[in-house]
Amino acid sequence: MIRASFVTDPNFRNLLYIVAFSLFIYGMSGLTGPKTAVRGNRIAAVGMGIALLATFLVPYHIHNIALVIIGIAIGTAVGVPAARQVKMTAMPQMVAIFNGVGGGAVALIAWVEFRDTNGFEFTPTYIVIFSLLSAIIGSVSFWGSNIAFAKLQELIDGRPRSIGALQTPLNAFLALAAVALAVAITAGANDEILIIGLLVAAAILGNMLVLPIGGADMPVVISLLNAFTGLSAAAAGIALDNTALIVAGMIVGASGTILTQQMALAMNRSIMNIVAGGFGGTTVAAAGTDTTGGTVRATSAADAAIQMAYARQVVVVPGYGMAVSQAQHAVREMAKMLEAKGVEVKYAIHPVAGRMPGHMNVLLAEADVPYEQLKEMDDINGEFSRTDVSLVIGANDVTNPDARTKPDSPIYGMPILNVDESQSVIILKRSMNSGYAGIDNPLFVNPKTSMLFGDAKASVDSITEELKVL
């Protein structure tokens, strides 16, 4: 190889990669607050630009440049409108499919590496191992993310689909099959059918991992797939001896891992338990229903408006139901009316409210709710005792006091928003159906509670109308 100049020196390229991943880390550290976040994201984007440019600084003739340009052009043509037009309610789907294509790209690259080296002939063993590792994780992530996307987009039924007791043994068999094929390839077998078989086994595993998981568990699944995609990129980075890939992949892997842990913690369930599936959406045999004993008190928009107008502090507790009925803008309008009457309005957001981490916050931010009013669970829970009215909009399980008090409840131990500590509770609900976990919520029959039945957006709108005439 001839080194044409210092620009094409591999060391120069690697220096640029160091600049690039430093910018990734620096940019990500900006995400600690809303003021620095926009800049942080742009800094990371600059890092990506530098990494991309550095890739072309090679000491040999550049082949296939037309293909590269076509690929980037098509990707841009797909990515830009998607990013511009996606509704904030559809962000979980968007992130799921983005996880998927990232993992898919990694798996495809590993496949090509296999083909171009005639089954990793004369390739150092560790490169073979990391390449195959990236292929397995990438394929799992691609197919798992596609299923998650299809569920969130409601292309397929969001309820868990499982083959029952055989699910775990089947998953274990698929994982073993993929690993066995990887071992065979590492040992020197070079028939292409082996890597195709490996990719297919991982693909079925990806499907099998996500199909049994219900809608309410989606925040965990998306986070987990996010971690997988990152780790597959890091493994590809080792296989390709590319530091930018390694560092970027590990940042994403760490991020996905942290989010997965936090989501699982917020549901008081282990990751294994969630992946084993079946909970989010199936009817759990509710142990000893005491809701039937109490009576549900229905209220009207007018009464709700009066109650809130004379409150000092109102805490809004949004859940996925708010996103479904697109009520976030109506909520903001209502909050403005209340604020004009001197009521302090805050928003209590449970970590697993919605279909992905932070979903509710984005919806409310889109509706111009000030960042300072968006409160995390730990910050707001101490305030409920000083709150006059808690307005629960389309949330259920995250407010269920059984999680605190009833050891035989399926959600016992899950950290919840203590809305039952506030002076009174108004619950906007479509009907008396139970939440995703299929568990009764004694909050509904609490004497403090009144229910306003109907579509969340319509209810909020009519409360706002009533507030106007007060």
Binding site: L31, A44, V80, A105, A233, G237, P370
Partner: protein
Amino acid sequence: MILAAVGTSTLVTNLAILVLAGFVGYAVISKVPNTLHTPLMSGTNAIHGIVLLGGIIILISGVSEGWFSDLLLLIAVIFGTINVVGGFLVTDRMLDMFKTKPKAEVEAGTEDNA
């Protein structure tokens, strides 16, 4: 055999980078508040789009033989680009919503006073 020796040290160096990057990533991302977790996810989507580089490296080196390998790499480049471009743009769009908040509050505040 020299190649093998170089290969091993590259592996060890890269593993060191991998482990350190994992810890740095963990430390940095731990500080991100729950409120910004959705933009965090879309932002990391953009960053793992860096696999785009892997596709490009193999394509421009010209080692891939046959149209099928090229096709697979083309798809990988498309996927990676969707991640990078789409991820950074949608994150920017979202974070902008969070950023403009203080201004909106000031407006609301002045309205109240008036």
